[in-house]
């Protein structure tokens, strides 16, 4: 496969096609913000109701593990940005290298996340299944915090998995020289998506790991 010479049949030009796909991704990200926003709304309400339980709940998470995941994700954003830059310059090989790095960092993140979930599981900190690992009078409220922790991080992890899948496909296409300096829309919009998922984590990290850290 080599790069396209013409835009898709219903578009008048590459410019129009790029504009449409980029705007489409921005619109989709607006949807995503509302998707997470609904849950964060509930999170905020209960945090105001049960401030102490939120502190106790966030202490169940490992600050260091969370910080490590944050660093990994930030690094993946950098390699993603470099991949987009390579696409703009039409350097297919560089695209593949940087995407591979991004995918690898994404997988490391997911592995850390899985390790953390495993810890919650063995310590009986999974509400709805077994939450006997935390015993204190504010048990139900802390369980509520952990519910939000799991829900938000799982939702984020699902987005990460989708992101890794999308980047893999794009890396394969790049390897087959599908992209050129004038036609590399998919790399850019996948980059937008990846950065968005990273930014979501930058909100989740303080909301789920750092609630009581100032005390």
């Amino acid at each position: 496969m080599s790069s396209n010479v013409y835009p898709a049949a219903h578009f008048r030009s590459f410019d129009q096609q790029h504009e449409a796909s980029e705007l489409g991704m921005w619109g989709f990200l607006c949807t995503e913000i509302l998707f997470f926003g609904g849950v964060l709304c509930g999170y905020t309400m209960y945090r105001l109701l049960y401030p102490q339980a939120w502190v106790h709940g966030s202490e169940l998470n490992s600050l260091w593990l969370g910080a490590a995941m944050t660093v990994v994700l930030l690094a993946s954003s950098l390699t993603m940005a470099l991949a987009v830059r390579a696409a703009q310059l039409g350097q297919s090989k560089a695209i593949v290298v940087f995407l591979a790095a991004t995918i690898a960092l994404g997988v490391v993140f997911l592995a850390l996340k899985g390790f953390e979930y495993y810890g919650h599981w063995v310590h009986h900190l999974v509400p709805g299944f077994n939450f006997s690992g935390y015993q204190a009078p504010d048990h139900p409220q802390v369980a509520l915090f952990v519910v939000f922790y799991f829900f938000l991080t799982l939702l984020h992890a699902v987005h990460m998995i989708i992101g890794v899948g999308v980047l893999s496909v794009i890396a394969i296409l790049a390897h087959r020289n599908r992209f050129s300096a004038i036609d590399h829309g998919p790399v850019e919009i996948a980059g937008l998506y990846w950065h968005f998922v990273d930014i979501v984590w930058l909100f989740l990290f303080p909301l789920l790991y750092l609630v009581g850290a100032h005390q």
Binding site: L49, A136, P137, D138, H139
Partner: protein, 333 residues
């Protein structure tokens, strides 16, 4: 209750008449507007129908002024309507201080009511006419809604919290009481009657109660059964005079010890720890029904007139029964 062709339901409270006035004002305004619009449309479609000599439309001058006029004028009228409706809502939300209090527990599919004097009823609510009555309501299961059409009032009844509603029946009589929030299979059969009685007759009805035990007396028994005094008569936070006092909490905030606070302290004690105490109280949410919690609250309220240290110890039967047998919050009467 109503014959098939009535357009307004029975109005049996001052509030009902006030709501009806607003409603009728809205109806009249709507009829005028709808009539004007229908008439204008009719005139336009007849006058400007397509025919020889009117095959091509005429130019009509557009104007910003008319757009501003027909959005601005309705806006002003609506603001008036907003204030009127909001005033009624506010008055409905604030019960007079001297209201008779009655406690309501909704449950699939019945209304359970308790009077402070101890009378308990199901799907029937006896109230004095001409006196304000305040209902404190909660649910044992799903959300219900306490609806008395004759008084034009309605309030959802939620599990896990208290909502309130007040009314003052202006005439004696029997009025339907309905559930207005869908609550399951027999939702439409969760109905009862409100009996508004002359105050003297109401007093007679109260004294004919079967148990002869007031709500606070019943609450005292629950208090003993749950052995609350084990702590609260010793190292735990004292309960005397607690009701409607401001309580400092361990997180630095200060809350008013009202019904909702006491309820939450019983079912969810860890969520609001009194300053200077350890969070060691377990939850009693599984051990007391909503009705019993209301009785406990009535008991705690009755403790406010007692001298400190007179709280009964955890010996069954107690040493002293509270003497405030007219029930809490009736001091003004």
């Amino acid at each position: 209750m109503t014959s098939g062709l009535d357009l307004l339901p029975q109005a049996a409270s001052a509030n009902a008449q006030i709501v009806d006035q607003l409603y009728l004002a809205f109806v009249i305004a709507s009829v005028v507007i709808v009539a004007a619009i229908f008439l204008l449309i009719l005139v336009f479609v007849v006058r400007f129908r397509r025919r020889e000599g009117n095959l091509v439309a005429r130019r009509v001058k557009e104007s910003t002024l008319i757009e501003i006029a027909w959005s601005g004028i309705p806006l002003l009228i609506l603001m008036g309507a907003f204030v009127w409706g909001a005033k009624i809502y506010f008055d409905e939300a604030v019960p007079p201080a001297d209201s008779t209090e009655i406690y309501v527990v909704g449950k699939q599919w019945m209304w359970k009511l308790q009077h402070p004097e101890g009378n308990r009823e199901i799907n029937e609510l006896h109230v004095p006419a001409g006196r304000p009555v305040k209902l404190v309501m909660t649910s044992e299961d799903v959300i219900h809604s306490f609806f008395i059409p004759a008084f034009r009032i309605k309030q959802d009844v939620l599990p896990g919290r208290y909502t309130q509603l007040w009314f003052q029946a202006s005439t004696e009589g029997r009025f339907p009481l309905l559930c207005a929030e869908f609550c399951g299979t027999n939702h439409s059969r969760m109905h009862g009657w409100v009996y508004a009685m002359a105050p003297a007759e109401y007093q007679r009805w109260l004294s004919g109660g079967e148990t002869g035990e007031t709500m606070s007396e019943a609450g005292q028994k629950v208090f003993q059964r749950l052995a609350c005094a084990t702590c609260h008569a010793r190292d735990g936070p004292p309960l005397q005079g607690l009701y409607r006092r401001r309580v400092p909490l361990s997180d630095g905030s200060v809350v008013l010890a009202d019904d909702a606070y006491i309820r939450r302290s019983i079912v969810d004690p860890a969520s609001q720890i009194v300053q200077g105490y350890q969070p060691i109280m377990p939850t009693f949410s599984g051990n007391a029904t909503e009705e019993e919690i209301l009785q406990l609250i009535a008991y705690i309220r009755s403790l406010k007139n007692l001298p400190p240290g007179s709280l009964p110890a955890n010996t069954p039967g107690g040493e002293q029964s509270p003497n405030d047998d007219t029930g809490p919050e009736r001091k003004q009467q």
